[in-house]
Structures are given as C-alpha cells and as structure tokens.
C-alpha cells in the first residue's frame, strides 16, 4: 500500500537534536541520495555539453563534406550513424548540431525567462490595478497556445535561427510570467518578509534584498527544465522549415531532411531525433532532481 510514513523524518524534539551536519556528511548524503538515473542523465548531459563546446573532440569526419559515392551507408564502424543522401557522416552532423541546438534552447529559455520574469515579478509586487492588467495581458497571450505564439512571431519576422530562438522564447514567456507571478506572490506573503519589515527595513530594501533573491532562487532549476522543452520546440520549427535552414546541421532540419528517405535510410531521421530526445530528457531529469533538492531545503 501507499501510505508513507517515514519515522526518520518525524521531528524528535529536545536537547538531543538531530546529528550535526558537517560539510562532509552533507556531501556524502548528496552522493548517496542521488538516484542512479540522475547520474546517468547528468553524464549524458555532460557529454552533450562537451559536444557543444568542443565538437572536435568527437568529430571524425567533416559534417558538411559531400561524398555522393558514399550516400546512404548504413551505420557501421566507419560511419557510426551511417551517411545521408549526400554521403555526409550523420554522426558528425549530429555532433556538429549539438552546439546550435543547445544554444537555441538556452537562448530561447533566457528570452522567455526575461520577458516572463519582467511581467510576472512586476505583477506580483505591484498594486491591484497593474497586477490585474498584466494578468489580463498574459491571459490573452495564453489564447495562442502551443506553437501558435511562436508561429506568429515567425510570421512577423520571417524564418531563421535567430527568429526561431526569439519565437520559442516569446512562446514560453506567458508560462514563465504566470509561474513567476505565483512565486512572487508567495514570497511577498511569506512571514520572513513581514519580519524584515518589523526589523525596520525599508520597502525598497526588502524588495531588492529579500523578495527578488528569493524569487530568483529556483531560477537555475527553471532554466534547466526549460531548455529541454525549448530544444524540442525550436527543432519543431526547424522541422517545419521555419527555423534553421538546410544544409545547416541542426537536429530538426536534419530530421526534416531525412524524412524523405525513410524507406531507404531510417538512420538519417532517427539519430537526430534520438539526440533531441536525449537533450530534453537529460535536462528534465537533472532539472527535476535539482528542484526536489531545492524544495527539500525550503
């Protein structure tokens, strides 16, 4: 059955309190308390980051070199992921695309967080009038669900990688706005804010030294969680021909390319897709773990 009762967490009061947590025991607890899945995800994420920062470590062929004689080679020792219709090495192209995909995800998340944060935090600390005005505005933005807001941004500013990052960022902004507003409201209502007031702190001091830092506390987690989804969104745009354009080695664009040769060479589409999934999966797993740790601290 499912009723969990963990007697070890039941507070035992009195002078004989819980064991002192020295730095060492804290570190060892961190190691022991982290599930194996998180370790695997973190290792894979580290691999992706390395591939993004220093692709040459893994590159064995020029990702852009066309070699028609070697087209449609199935995966083997030489071409780990096979070759595409132009004889380019799929593995090299996937590795070469890592940087752009991760950067796209990071940029889009940053844009989304900055826009959403500006709206959400302002709404959270403002008076009733401005708060409800911002809420209404965000509510209107929510009427453009999913890819729609991103598509509108592209309709305005045309296709391309930079536009795709902005589009995905804008598309995720309403979600962040709502989330950060809730977060801000919680912090504003927290007794420690009141305590700061009772200690004689000024309102501006409380805003900048208590409210904002506490709202920003989970930001790192939000970024980690956000990147994965942003990568999926951005690659969707590229897949639709609205983001990165061929022959760019971007995962979504490569997938769109490979789609035409599914029956002869499944690997051209399969491997970029696996990497998109991998990026989203690892960031989500690591992000969730960070979030749980943060929650345990609050």
């Amino acid at each position: 059955m499912s009723l969990t009762l963990d007697p070890a967490t039941t507070p035992v009061d009195g002078s004989a309190a819980s064991a002192p947590s020295t730095t060492r025991s804290r570190t060892s607890r961190l190691v022991r308390g982290t599930p194996i899945g998180v370790w695997i995800a973190a290792a894979l994420l580290a691999f992706l980051v390395l591939a993004a920062v220093a692709p040459s470590v893994f590159l064995r062929q020029d990702p852009f070199e066309i070699d028609p004689a070697n087209a449609f080679q199935s995966p083997d020792g030489v071409h780990l992921f096979g070759t595409d219709q132009n004889g380019r090495d799929v593995f090299s192209r996937v590795i070469a695309g890592t940087g752009q995909s991760l950067l796209l995800g990071l940029a889009a998340t940053a844009i989304g967080l900055v826009l959403g944060g500006a709206l959400g935090i302002t709404a959270g600390v403002s008076g009733r009038w401005l708060d409800s005005a911002i809420c209404r505005f965000v509510e209107i933005l929510f009427a453009f669900p999913g890819l729609l807001l991103a598509l509108i941004v592209i309709a305005v500013s045309g296709t391309g990688v930079v536009t795709a990052a902005i589009a995905v960022g804008v598309g995720s902004a309403p979600g962040y706005a709502r989330m950060l507003r809730t977060q801000t409201l919680q912090v504003v209502a927290a007794p420690y804010v009141e305590t700061a007031l009772a200690l004689g702190r000024s309102r501006s001091h409380i805003l900048w030294h208590t409210i904002v830092p506490n709202v920003a506390r989970p930001l790192f987690v939000l970024v980690t969680l956000g990147i994965g989804q942003a990568i999926v969104w951005a690659s969707s745009l590229s897949f639709l021909g609205l983001g990165a354009q061929p022959p760019a080695a971007e995962w979504g664009a490569m997938l769109a390319d490979g789609r035409n040769y599914l029956q002869v060479a499944w690997w051209i589409a399969a491997f970029p897709g696996i990497f998109i999934t991998l990026a989203a999966l690892t960031t989500t797993v690591v992000g969730h773990h960070l979030q749980r740790r943060l929650e345990a601290e609050v």
Binding site: L5, D6, P7, P11, V12, D13, P191, L199
Partner: protein
Amino acid sequence: MTENSADTPEQQPLLAIDNLDVSFTTPRGVVDVVRDVSLALAPGRALALVGESGSGKTVTARTLVGLNASNARVSADRLDVLGRDATRLTERQWRGLRGKDIGYVLQDALVSLDPLRTVGQEIDEALRAHGVRGKAEREERVHAALRDAGIPDPEVRARQRSGELSGGLRQRALIAQATVLNPRLVIADEPTTALDATVQAQILELLAGLKEQGRGLIFISHDLAVVSHLADEIAVMQHGRIVETGRASEVLGNPRHDYTRQLIDAVPSAAGKGTRLSAARRVVVASRPTRRSAVSADAPALDARNLVKTYASPDGTRRTVVDDVSFALPAGKTLGIVGESGSGKSTTARMALGLTEPDAGTVTLGGLPWVGQQDGAGIVSEQVRRPHRPDIQLVNQDPLSSFDPRFSVGRVITDALDAGSVGTPGERKDRAAELLGQVGLPLELIERRPLTLSGGQRQRVAIARALALQPRILLLDEPVSALDVSIQAQVLDLLADLQEQLGLSYLFISHDLGVIHHVSDEVLVLRNGRVVESGSAKSLFTAPAEDYTRALLAAVPDLPTRVPTSRIGGAS
C-alpha cells in the same frame, strides 16, 4: 446494536498485546519505532496512549488496524485484537474488521474526510463496504449515526461536505463515520488537537459516551490534561517504549517515572503559576542593553485605544474582525490575549505591531505615536515608525517561515543586527554568538540551516533574533502552540528568564488558557473581535465576571491537582 457478539465482555479482552515491536525499513536503514509495547484493554474501558511527537503512539495505534506503511515490520509475542491473532490476519480479514469491529478516528476532520464528497457519502461508504445492501436502510443508518454523534439536522448535514461544516460538527461527522457499524473498539488519534477548548470539551464528552456504551476506547494524545478526564488507564510513551502504565489516577497523581513527572510538571496550569515548568538551566544575560531608545520607560509599553478592523467578504459585505478593542501593556509586564480561532487576536496583534493599518483607533508605543490617527498629527506613517521598530519585535507560531530560506542561523541574527545598523560585520558575528548563548543554544548551531533544527531550537533562534535589536517589547503570537509540552515548558521558562533579566514587556497571544494563566500579569479575553473581559490574571482566573470567560475556563481540561514536588522557585 444487538449484533455485537461479545456476550461475555468482561472475560474477553479487546486487546491483549505483549512485547510489540514495529520497525521501518528506510533507505537509511532499519528504524525501530515501537519497542516492547504491552497493552491490554477490556470492553467499556478507555486506554490513553500519551507521549510527545515521535514517541511511537500513532504507529502503535495503526498497528491495531493493520494500517502501517508497507515498509513496516511488526512482530510481537502476542498481538490479539478482538480475540484474533493480528499477526496472521490477511488484508482481506483486516478489511472485515476495519470499520465494522474497529472504528478509527483521526485528527482534524477537514483533511480526514474526503473534501470532495459529502459527509453522508463518506458514512454510507462504510456501510457499503461491509455489505449493507438496502439503500433506504443505509440512508437511515447514516442519519442515525450523525444524530448519535450529536449532529442536529442530520438530513441536511449528510448532504454537506466537511469544508462546509464547523470544526466541531466536522469532528462529530468523523466520529460518526467510524462508529456507524457499532464497532467494539474505537481508536481515536489526537481527536481534539486542532479544536478550540469549548469544542474540545464537547468532543471529549461524545467519546466518553462511546465508552459508556460498552466499547473499548484507545485514545491518543500529547495532552495529559485532555487524557485525564477520559482515560481509565494511561500508558506514557517515550522513544517508542512505554515508560509507565497504570490507572489514570495513579499515573497522574503519583507518577513513578521521571519522564511522566517531567510531562506533568511541564503543563502550565493554575497550580503551577510562578514555578518553573522545566528542568532546563536558567539562562543568564551577560550584557545589559546598551541601545538608547526614544521610548519612555514610564508610559505603558503599548497603549491601544478603540482599535477597529473590517475586511471585505467575498459577497461584498464587510466583516468586522476587530471591534473596539483597547488594552494597555504596562512596562515590564505580560499582557495575555486569549481567544478561540476567529476571535481577532492575531489581527489585533498585527495592528499593535503596525503591520496592519486599523480602520479606527490608535496605538502608542511607550508614549510615542505609533499607529493610527494621532491628535493633530495625521496617521502615523511607516517612515515615522521605522526608527522605533527595534523597540517592538515579533515572535510567531511558525519560526521557520519567518526565516529567509537562504539564511543560516548565524545569518538570521546578523541580518537583524544589520537592519539596526549595529556594529561592524565582525562585531555582529560576536554578538550573534552571544545572543545564541542567551537563548540557551549551543554555539555550533550558528552555521546550521534552520531547517535542520528541531522545533524548540527554531523558536529559540527566533527569540534570539527578536532580542538582537534590544527591544523593549516582544509580541509573542502563539509562540509555543506548535511545540511539544516539554519543549513548550522550556521555551516558557526561557521567556520568563529573559523578561526578568532584561525588563521586557510581553504581549502574549494564545488560545491556550493554561499558558495564558501561567505567563500573564494582565489578561484580555477576546471573542468575535470584541473584548469580553479584561483584568489582572489573578482576578480574572479566580473570579471571572462574564459567562463566556466562565464557559471558557470550564472547558479547559485540568490535571488533578498534585503538589509540585520539586523545582519550586524561578521567576518571582
């Protein structure tokens, strides 16, 4: 009623338990929670399991209905529940017992009844689970159960959800769903803990009624006073073991074990006023206050006149939460404000602290304008208040939420010193260490996160922070309500020591009359936002003038008077 098979009740005990052990397998290893517990219960008797949090009383109770977590390991030399060997019961057999032969009542019906379902549906479910088929019959029994639990208009109440009922009715409904099938054994786990004193008294009466009907009652509480009125036998638990067991009058009147004595002494009551409640060492304040304050020491520390506060209800009308409340807190004394939930005591406190602006009325702080419209000077603004903020500090019920979650214990205190621009960073560190010593905390805690501290330690940190700016007044809003009774005793003793040595004035808010009686010089009784009665603690508690105060006092379960054997002295 008649299907009860125990025709020879005296010969067949409901419970016979020898050396019960319960342990839990956790990622950090096996944790023993209950050790060597032996219990017996006959029909028509009430057994109270008493202990503080973590003593294993709830786990013991859940073992009796087979509802421990899946990682629990139960073993016993004998574990007979209603004449059956509980160690051999299958889940299906347990289900046959639960609800039908054993009723289980939890604390706080707001969360112990499904908030999405009506009270009637919840009771009906018990009947259904035990094969009562006829719809009409079930409905009738639902109404009967509600009526037996003392709920008027059962037909109406059965269609309401727990959220729509008052605390008392809710708890009665919870008892009704556990007793609808006339179980021979009723287990009640802290059934009155979240309730106001008057409601608590009614629920205790209802439970006593169950006992008189011949049922066996297991009653779990952290509160000795509550237990004393209901229990025939008491088992005192500590760290998973029963340290003392016996007839209630014996255990309470002539405790043999140190821990029991300590628990009894810790209960603040009329008899113990002026005595120390705990064996904790007295704290000694080394340095005297050095801060110069503009606040006059001769004027009342706080003087509130005709405070009024209304709030808009969702339906547009205005609800008066505080209605014409006046009080004066003499310098160096304690004013206790007592009232049940919704009486307006917390709003009053917030206005006194200048955190909530009153609709009308004024507060002066040691003679200085503090809150509200002052003669010819307009409403006192926060700018005017801020320089005097150090003079009045706050300690509330939940200290953890009052600490910035980013801060360590040391940082909590140095931040407060920084707010008052006290000293250099280095001096602040020294002073923080000194303050920790003042509240009886070891210096090692300074690096720790408040989250890793126990409840009592957290409250001491909150007190240390409140003292950091050398205030004249502490506003204590339910400061011990979340603490176990022995920890409560230590914190109350600490507060008494500090008051004595630092000459502090306390505005002490509590729902607990025993605590208020123990700490207060003056008392203010609030009800529905109005002052019912006020006066010196002595006169108010010995000769209450108002019916409400009398009712409140009568509702407080009191320990049978026992002559305090030791530890007399203390704050005088």
